[in-house]
C-alpha cells in the first residue's frame, strides 16, 4: 500500500484517522522498523497468519470506526496457539459488534508479540506557534503520570536526538536496570531522526503517535502506531 493510496483511501472514506495497518505500512515504507502486522478477514485467515507470524500472537480489531480498541473489547494479547487465536477472533467480533453495531469492520490485525524490552514513545503534534513538535518519553507512568517527556521542534538534527533522550529523568532506565537489558541508544536516536524527516516530508500529518516502541540491546521495533491527517 503506497502512501498515496493510504491518503486517497482515507479521504474517500471521509476519515482523518488512519487504521493501525495503514499507519504501520506508511511508517515501514519510511524505513521505521515496525512489527510485522497482517490483516485477517476471517477466523481461518487469523489462525493461519498467527501460525505464520509466530506465537504468542496479538489480535486487534481493524475498523476505521473503532478508535478505542481496548475499550471495545477489540484487543486480545498473548495468544499461544491457533486454537486460542480462533477463540479470540470470535470474542473480538462479538464484543465489537455489540459495542459498535454500525462500525465498518475490515477484520482483525494479527501480529507476533514483541519480546519484553524498554518501552518508549515517539510522538508528533503541531504547536500553533512553532509548528510540528517531536516528543519522546518512556512508556507507561513515565509519560502518563509523571509527564517525563522531552520536546524538539521539527526538523531535528543528531544533537537534538541525543539530547532529547538524555534529558529524561527516567533516562537511567534506558541504560539497563535490575537485570533488564539496556536500549540501543544509537537506534533510538536514529528513529527520532527518521520520524522527524517523515513528518517534515508529509505535512498532511496532523498528529502521530508511535506507542509503544520496544527497545532492545540491539535494536527497536514499533508495536503500534496512530496517524491523524489534517482536514
Amino acid at each position: 500500500m503506497s502512501e498515496k493510496t493510504v491518503l486517497v483511501k482515507a479521504k474517500q472514506q471521509g476519515r482523518s484517522q488512519l487504521t493501525e495497518l495503514e499507519a504501520k505500512e506508511w511508517l515501514r515504507e519510511a524505513g521505521i522498523p515496525v512489527v510485522e502486522t497482517k490483516l485477517a478477514r476471517t477466523k481461518g485467515q487469523a489462525m493461519a497468519l498467527s501460525q505464520q507470524l509466530g506465537f504468542p500472537a496479538a489480535l486487534k480489531i481493524s475498523s476505521p470506526d473503532v478508535v478505542h480498541k481496548s475499550d471495545a473489547g477489540g484487543v486480545k494479547l498473548n495468544l499461544k496457539s491457533q486454537r486460542q487465536v480462533g477463540e479470540a477472533y470470535h470474542q473480538i467480533m462479538t464484543s465489537v459488534h455489540q459495542k459498535h453495531p454500525d462500525a465498518r469492520i475490515e477484520g482483525v490485525t494479527v501480529q507476533p508479540m514483541a519480546r519484553p524490552g524498554v518501552e518508549v514513545i515517539i510522538g508528533m503534534s503541531k504547536d500553533p506557534q512553532f509548528g510540528p513538535v517531536l516528543m519522546f518519553g518512556l512508556g507507561g507512568v513515565w509519560v502518563e503520570l509523571l509527564k517525563d517527556v522531552s520536546f524538539r521542534i521539527v526538523p531535528i538534527v543528531s544533537r537534538d536526538a541525543r539530547e532529547m533522550i538524555r534529558e529524561l529523568k527516567g533516562f537511567p532506565l534506558l541504560e539497563g536496570y535490575r537485570g533488564s537489558e539496556p536500549a540501543h541508544l544509537p537506534t533510538l536516536e536514529s528513529l527520532l531522526l527518521q520520524v522527524s524527516r517523515f513528518v517534515a516530508e508529509n505535512p498532511e500529518i496532523k498528529e502521530l503517535d508511535v506507542n509503544p516502541i520496544i527497545a532492545y540491546r540491539d535494536g527497536a521495533v514499533a508495536v503500534d502506531a496512530r496517524i491523524i491527517l489534517e482536514g
Partner: protein, 470 residues
C-alpha cells in the same frame, strides 16, 4: 532582513507630541543626539517651553523643511493614525510609536486600532517600531529615550526588548556592572517589526558580538525558531522570557498582548537553538558580562582563590551546585606551592585559601601556578571588601598595584578569569573597586552563586558552539 540602518543612525529626528505633562522627557533625552532634532506639537500652550528648550517646533511633520530619518510619536492613540500617515507621506526611515492603547488593552477597540495601523504601515512599507514602546537606543550618536542612559563610546552588546523598562535598566544598570550596549531597541507590541526582525539585524551588525533579549511572545514562532537557530552558532543570544508562568503570562497579555502558548515547547526551543535562558536582570547582566569579558570557556574545572577557610567551603558548594568542578591541583603545583606558602593559617587544596595579609608577589605566584595547572580550566578569585579596605588603609597605593597585577595576569593567561567581589560593609570601597574593574574589563560578580551560575551558562554555550561548528 529589514534594513534598520537609517533608524539607528538618523541624521534627523522629529519628536511628535512631547509635552510638559511628561516632563518633555523625549526632547530632553535627545539633547545628547549628534544630529538635528525637530519638535512637532500643535498645542500652543506647549510650544513656548519647547522652543525655550532649544528645539524648533512645527505644527505638522510635513512642514519641517528637511528630510526626516526617524520619528518618535508621543501622541495619543486618536492622533496616531494621522501621525503615521504623515510619516508615510514624508517618507521617513522609521517611526517609534510610544503611543499605547492597542491590543494590550484586550478591548475590541484597541485590537481594531492595532489592526488598522498594521495594515496601513505594511501597505506603505513603513518601518513601524512598537506601538507601546520606547524605541531606539544608540549610545554612539546619543539617540536615547531616557536622560540616565549613557552616551559615548559604545560597548559590544545588542539588546532587544519587548519592554522599555528592561532596556532602560540594562542600559543604565548595565554599565555599573561592566556591560555597555552597542545598540538597543524596545519594540513593545511588535505589530510590524517584531523581535525576530531586530535579531536578524543585530546578527549582521559588526559592532555587536553578544545579543541579549527580553521577549514575551514571538508573532511568528516558526520564523523566530529558524532565525535564532541560525544566529546562535555565530553570536551568543541570552534570552529572558517574560511570562514563564501562568500568572506571568496573564500579565504579559495586558503588557504587549503577546505570549507563548506552550511553555514546555518554548523551553525546548531555547535549548534546541543553543540560546542561553536567564530569568531576571541580574542573570542577564552576569551572563552578558562574562560573554563579553571572559576568554572562551573550554571546561568545567575551576581554580579558586578564596579569602578564608569558611569562604573556601561555601564557594566550593556554589560551583558544585552549578554543575562545575573544584578539583585538587596537580602534584607539580603542590610541590611548587609548598616551597613558598605557609600552610598554617591557610590552605592550598583548591580553593586556595589566602588571607588578607598575603603579599602581592605571593598572590601573583599563586595565580601563575593556577594558570599552569593542567587540572584547572578557569580561575576565580574572591576579593572581599574587608581585604580591600584594610590593605587600602595600611597601604594607599595598594589598590593600583593589585589592579596592575590582575590586568597583567589576565593579559598573559589564556584561561577565563573572573573576580567575585564579596560583601563589603564599606559600600563606597566596593563601588570604587567595581569602577576600576569595569575600566579594565575584568568581569566581577556580586556573590559566589551568581559567578558560578554565570560561568556554567557560558560554558554550556561554548560547548554548544563547538559542537555545532563541528
Amino acid at each position: 532582513m529589514v534594513d534598520l540602518d537609517r533608524v539607528f543612525n538618523p541624521r534627523t529626528v522629529a519628536v511628535v507630541g512631547d509635552k510638559k505633562g511628561q516632563g518633555f522627557f523625549w526632547l530632553k533625552s535627545l539633547k545628547t543626539f549628534q544630529g538635528k532634532v525637530y519638535s512637532v506639537q500643535i498645542d500652543p500652550k506647549e510650544i513656548p517651553e519647547i522652543e525655550a528648550l532649544g528645539f524648533p517646533n512645527y505644527t505638522s511633520l510635513l512642514e519641517i523643511p528637511d528630510e526626516i530619518d526617524f520619528v518618535i510619536c508621543s501622541a495619543p492613540r486618536g492622533a496616531a493614525t494621522k501621525v503615521v500617515q504623515d510619516c508615510i507621506r514624508k517618507r521617513v526611515g522609521g517611526v517609534t510609536l510610544f503611543t499605547s492603547g492597542f491590543a494590550e488593552t484586550n478591548t475590541e477597540e484597541g485590537r481594531k486600532a492595532q489592526e488598522q495601523l498594521t495594515q496601513m504601515a505594511r501597505a506603505a512599507g513603513l518601518k513601524l517600531i512598537g506601538p507601546n514602546c520606547m524605541g531606539i537606543y544608540n549610545p554612539r550618536n546619543g539617540l536615547r529615550f531616557n536622560v540616565d542612559q549613557f552616551y559615548g563610546e559604545p560597548g559590544r552588546v545588542g539588546f532587544i526588548s519587548q519592554s522599555g523598562t528592561h532596556l532602560g535598566h540594562t542600559s543604565t544598570v548595565g554599565p555599573m556592572q561592566g556591560v555597555k550596549l552597542a545598540k538597543g531597541v524596545s519594540f513593545g507590541n511588535g505589530i510590524v517589526l517584531d523581535s525576530v526582525d531586530y535579531l536578524e539585524y543585530f546578527a549582521q551588525d559588526t559592532g555587536i558580538d553578544v545579543i541579549g533579549m527580553y521577549v514575551e511572545g514571538p508573532k511568528d514562532g516558526r520564523r523566530f525558531f529558524q532565525v535564532l537557530r541560525e544566529v546562535t552558532p555565530r553570536k551568543p543570544v541570552v534570552l529572558w522570557k517574560g511570562g514563564e508562568t501562568a500568572d506571568g503570562t496573564r500579565a504579559a497579555l495586558s503588557h504587549t498582548g503577546n505570549l507563548v502558548q506552550s511553555l514546555p515547547v518554548w523551553q525546548a526551543m531555547v535549548r534546541q537553538c543553543g540560546a542561553i535562558p536567564v530569568k531576571n536582570l541580574d542573570e542577564m547582566l552576569d551572563t552578558l558580562k562574562g560573554l563579553v569579558h571572559l576568554k572562551p570557556v573550554f571546561g568545567p574545572r575551576v581554580g579558586i582563590i578564596a579569602l578564608s577557610g569558611g569562604q573556601s567551603v561555601v564557594v566550593s558548594d556554589a560551583y558544585a551546585r552549578a554543575g562545575l568542578k573544584v578539583p585538587p591541583l596537580s602534584p607539580a603545583s603542590y610541590t611548587e606551592l609548598s616551597a613558598f606558602v605557609n600552610i598554617i593559617g591557610g590552605s592550598y587544596q583548591n580553593p586556595f585559601d589566602v588571607n588578607w595579609a598575603t603579599p602581592l608577589p605571593n598572590l601573583r605566584h599563586i595565580l601563575e601556578v593556577l594558570d599552569r595547572d593542567e587540572n584547572v580550566d578557569n580561575i576565580a578569585m574572591e576579593i572581599g571588601g574587608p581585604y580591600l579596605s584594610r590593605r587600602w588603609d595600611a597601604h594607599p597605593e595598594f589598590i593600583n598595584e593589585l589592579f596592575a597585577l590582575l590586568v597583567d595576569f589576565r593579559q598573559h593567561s589564556a584561561k577565563p578569569f573572573l573576580v567575585m567581589l564579596t560583601p563589603a560593609h564599606y559600600e563606597g570601597i566596593a563601588m570604587a573597586a567595581r569602577e576600576k574593574f569595569n575600566e579594565v574589563g575584568l568581569p566581577h560578580y556580586a556573590n559566589f552563586d551568581r559567578a558560578a551560575q554565570a560561568l556554567r551558562r557560558i560554558l554550556d554555550y561554548y560547548r554548544f558552539r563547538r559542537e555545532v561548528a563541528g
